[in-house]
């Protein structure tokens, strides 16, 4: 259904991050020589401890921060804010309180000047897909935390972009809602494959969602390990929680991290 009103499946766009170094001030090395290639249509998750520069890396790809050293290429272009092929989902929903759910979901598409009739059809369809049918005309104050995040997810997908940057979109949710939304994201992603760069604190979340998991360390922020996730698709977050293979994978990564480079998550 989604594909009827979307053509982003054809705009396959990868992300090439090459030797990127970033400093917020003299002597404050936040990212040190980070290189990462995300294939078109690939789902890559970045995990790492707080302050290792995950958000900074995402902001660089989004063009919200200027690239200081190294290069980032996205659809043969340098990053720039508002790139029509790129969507960004923040940790907090940033829903506009004065807009109904439907008008919030349409916001991005509206700002980018997409056709009004088309974006409305798409918004209503997405609201249904994220399980908010019946709440189209409700205001955000009437939504629970999880429902708000669903609306934000629908808003992100309504953009009809090729590249999605997501910064801990489910970080502040309870475990149950988190699993639900992970399934939802997988579902949406399977319908309309986009290139996804997904930041999370949660290694299990990363393994459930991603084709590849990038593990970062801090001081300075570097890539410590890249893991190919071999779990078959379609996956289901709630099923995987009880899958022994999944836990093996998780344990292996922990072991590798601890053996290879000492404690990486000091929290």
């Amino acid at each position: 259904m989604g594909n009827i009103v979307s053509d982003s499946g054809n705009k396959s766009v990868g992300i090439a991050i090459d030797s990127v170094t970033h400093r917020f001030g003299p002597g404050q090395l936040t990212l040190d020589n980070v290189s990462l290639n995300v294939e078109p249509g690939e789902f890559v998750a970045i995990v790492g401890p707080s302050g290792c520069g995950k958000t900074t890396l995402l902001n660089l790809v989004a063009g919200l921060l200027p690239t200081q050293e190294g290069t980032i290429t996205l659809a043969n272009e340098q990053p720039r804010p508002g790139h029509p092929l790129v969507g960004y989902m923040l940790a907090r929903d940033a829903l506009f309180g004065w807009r109904t759910v439907r008008r919030n979901v349409e916001l991005g598409a509206e700002i980018r000047g997409q056709d009004e009739a088309l974006r409305e059809i798409r918004a209503v369809e997405l609201i249904r897909q994220v399980g908010l049918a019946g709440y189209e005309d409700a205001y955000p104050k009437a939504l629970s935390h999880g429902m708000r995040q669903r609306a934000a997810l629908a808003r992100t997908f309504c953009l009809d972009v090729a590249v999605l940057l997501m910064d801990e979109p489910f970080g502040a949710l309870d475990a149950q809602t988190k699993l639900q939304l992970e399934d939802l994201l997988l579902d949406l992603w399977t319908r309309e494959r986009r290139t996804v760069l997904f930041v999370t604190h949660d290694l299990n979340e990363a393994l459930v969602l991603a084709d590849r998991v990038v593990v970062m360390g801090r001081n300075p922020g570097t890539i410590r390990l890249v893991v190919q996730v071999t779990l078959p698709r379609p996956r289901e977050a709630r099923m995987l929680q009880s899958d022994p293979h999944f836990h093996d994978l998780s344990a292996t990564i922990w072991r590798e991290l601890e053996g290879g480079m000492g404690p990486w998550l000091d929290r």
Partner: protein, 292 residues
Amino acid sequence: MAGPLTSPAKRRIRDSGTVAVSRPIADTKKPHGDESQAVSAPKNLVLMWVGRLIVTVVVLGVWQLVYVKKVFNPVVTGSPVEVAKFLVDNLVTSTKLWGSVGVTLWTTLIAFVVGSGLGIGCGLLFARSPKLEHFTNPFFTGFNSVPRIALAPLFIVWFGLSQVSSILVGVSLTFFILLSSTMAGVASLERDATTLLDTLGATERQRFFRATLPAAVPTLFSGLRLGLVYALLGVVSGEIIGAPAGLGEKLSYFAGSFETDAVFGVLIVLGVIGAVIQGVMTLAERKLLRWQ
């Protein structure tokens, strides 16, 4: 300054208990406490009003008694019966006071529109250009520190005994209220919203009309409500100090000729005007800010 003046209005909304708010579907799960309140609210409300009525009757009764028994000089105390008589004589059986009401209302409206227009305009300008705000800040702070009523004699020297002086006093009060509430309102847009708009590549225009302005409306509205109250305050003060017409002018005339009943009558009229103004603003606010 905003606190004590806005709270009575808020309290009034709460008092009326079950304000009919069209609840979105999502709100079906009410917390338990809400329900029990809804049941007992009408009973409490009746008791509350009965209590208020009793207090009013007692106060008026004591007042009338003081007048009849001549406890103090009757000319000074006046009496509720005489005040009622004045109001009927001047508002119902004749229209003597209506002219003054009209003058004060018009003057207030002009002061409000001009003052809030300038205030909002300057606020938006400053929000766009922080440098300009920074540069002019000491001037505005200085001007804002002067008790504005004290400017009335100066205005009278400049513009003579006309409504212009009253308007200017009103404007000088309303302006600063709207200036600060506009700036606070514009600043109330959350950082997340700004980041979202950045990532979407929103233009300045889109930012302003789709985010900054709607986010500012609630703050702006409390500014407008307060601004209107202060426009009335400024205008009446201006009229008391020197104006050819208006309720303030009547007030100072009646007080000067020891017509205490008339003074109380005009005060009541002013009170009613103030209450009506607040009521209208509350209604408009509720209509415009349903999303809150």
